[in-house]
């Protein structure tokens, strides 16, 4: 059953008609065209669909789209300002923390939630924060290095 759905994504208001059984990820990707967030496992294990709801890392693949109404949703598309990359994105590029790129939007959102809460995290805190984001390319070392570099403004 289609109903009007109002979402606030990256500080912009959207109103679309959506089926009540759509997940937030489906609406972001298929209705709003925000294809940065990815569907990996679709079951909440891999973290590729991580977005921020009211500043906290959530899994868009397990969130019913209608339950995200009234919340501030931030996706990877909302990080760059006027074409200038967010420090975490910038560090990811410089440290070679991206290989195939499929997990990248997810762990960058996890890292953003961490740095917003704790601007100078320890290595263990970084590892814990991204423990819900699986990456099959990098072996995580460069991801961790890049997040720490971003936190130190390097």
């Amino acid at each position: 059953m289609k109903r009007a759905l109002k979402l606030t994504v990256n500080d912009e208001d959207y109103e679309v008609l959506a089926d009540t059984h759509r997940t937030l990820l489906e609406v972001l990707r298929d209705s709003l065209g925000l294809t940065g967030s990815k569907e990996g496992c679709g079951f909440g294990a891999c973290g590729a669909c991580t977005v921020l709801l009211d500043g906290k890392a959530n899994l868009a693949c397990l969130t019913l789209a209608f339950s995200a109404q009234g919340k501030q949703i931030t996706t990877i598309e909302g990080l760059a300002v006027n074409g200038k990359l967010h420090p975490i994105q910038d560090a990811a590029v410089r440290y070679g923390a991206i290989q195939c790129g499929f997990c990248t939007p997810g762990w960058i959102m996890s890292a953003k939630a961490l740095l917003d809460e704790k601007p100078k995290p320890t290595e263990l805190e970084v590892k814990t924060a991204i423990s819900g984001n699986l990456c099959r390319c990098t072996g995580y070392v460069k991801i961790i290095e890049s997040i720490i570099a971003a936190s130190e403004g390097k």
């Binding site: 089926d19 059984h21 679709g42 909440g44 899994l59 397990l62 969130t63 339950s67 814990t128 819900g132």
Partner: protein
């Protein structure tokens, strides 16, 4: 994977939620981290879900010496870990909540929802296509158990992390339904039946979790066996609460509970007898470990370890949890 066609309902109050649930074929959804994957797998396909998160004022966590700890139905696993009183008084709750899935799942999932976690089995938690290769099992509405052949009931494994921790702390839950409310010991929330593990009527919800104030000289700990340091459900989990007395640190009382050991979180009966009145040490804990080993009856329904290995690990993880509990108990 897509969700089945379901209607989306919202409740603004608990009575409203119960009334919607009473309509039948409606399921409650708070964090959705357990329900949504089950719906994607088509093992649950209700007519509608009620989003409980729209109910205001239910995400509280309060502590007082008089009332102990009170946790509202919508407090998340992350809220529990970040609460200062919980950190000081109940380390087992912090440890267990921090071991649930991932940060994202802890942000989404509620404590009450974690207590009401459905049992799991690798013949059940699969897509309908995968499951179509075999006759449906008891839990999926069939007449057979693929794990324990010729069994007359379902053996799916209870895999919640926080339940044993709350259990050893003597927690109670306040249950509300369309006919009123009741307060029950946490143990009574569990039926022990893998097929319908949570002993609540269709229109009932856990509204609050109540934990007695921390007793002087007591401590608690939780730890679990898993393959990875994140994401995984427990293969065996143990929570221990103990109370010491006197300068020598003599054990006054001890409670042990296990998860991933049966179709419900289980308390190890008579754990205290063998160690009461003796100073805490791993030697004096031996009988408690042995009783835990005997009580655990894991079956081959989760991936990651054979049942005999997981059963043996009950000893080890009870010891580790007891060491954690002892650390807190003897600190003050």
């Amino acid at each position: 994977m897509k969700l089945p066609r379901i209607d989306y309902l919202e409740a603004k109050t608990l009575p409203e939620a119960c009334a919607l649930l009473a309509q039948g074929d409606v399921l409650a959804c708070a964090g959705g981290t357990d329900l949504v994957p089950s719906m994607k797998h088509r093992v649950k396909a209700p007519r509608a879900v009620v989003n409980l998160k729209a109910i205001g004022g239910l995400d509280y966590i309060t502590y007082s010496e008089k009332d102990g700890l009170r946790i509202g139905a919508l407090a998340t696993l992350r809220d529990l870990q970040n609460n200062k009183s919980v950190q000081q008084k109940y380390p087992a709750l912090v440890q267990s909540a921090a071991m649930v899935g991932t940060i994202q799942l802890q942000n989404m999932g509620t404590v009450a929802g974690n207590l009401c976690l459905d049992t799991r089995c690798y013949y059940y938690n699969q897509s309908s296509f995968w499951r179509s290769a075999r006759p449906a099992c008891y839990k999926a509405g069939g007449e057979v158990c693929h794990v324990v052949k010729r069994s007359d009931h379902c053996w799916a494994c209870y895999s919640g992390d926080t339940a044993p921790a709350f259990m050893v702390l003597g927690a109670k839950v306040k249950v509300v339904g369309s006919k009123g409310e009741r307060v029950i010991a946490l143990k009574q929330l569990y039926s022990g039946d893998g097929q319908k593990p949570i002993a609540l009527a269709a229109d009932e919800l856990v509204a609050e979790i109540q934990v007695p104030a921390r007793a002087a000289g007591s401590g608690s700990g939780y730890t679990k066996l898993r393959i990875r340091k994140a994401i995984d459900f427990p293969l065996m989990g143990a929570a221990v609460w103990m109370q010491l007395e006197g300068k020598a640190g003599v054990v006054k009382d001890i409670r042990v509970a296990l998860t991933a050991a049966d179709s419900a979180p289980i308390e190890v009966p008579g754990a205290a007898k063998s160690i009461q009145g003796k100073p805490y040490s791993e030697e004096n804990l031996a009988e408690v470990m042995e009783a835990s080993y005997k009580k655990a009856r894991p079956v081959d329904c989760v991936i990651g370890g054979s049942p005999p290995y997981r059963k043996k690990m009950a000893r080890v993880f009870v010891k580790r949890a007891a060491n954690l509990a002892y650390q807190q108990a003897q600190a003050k």
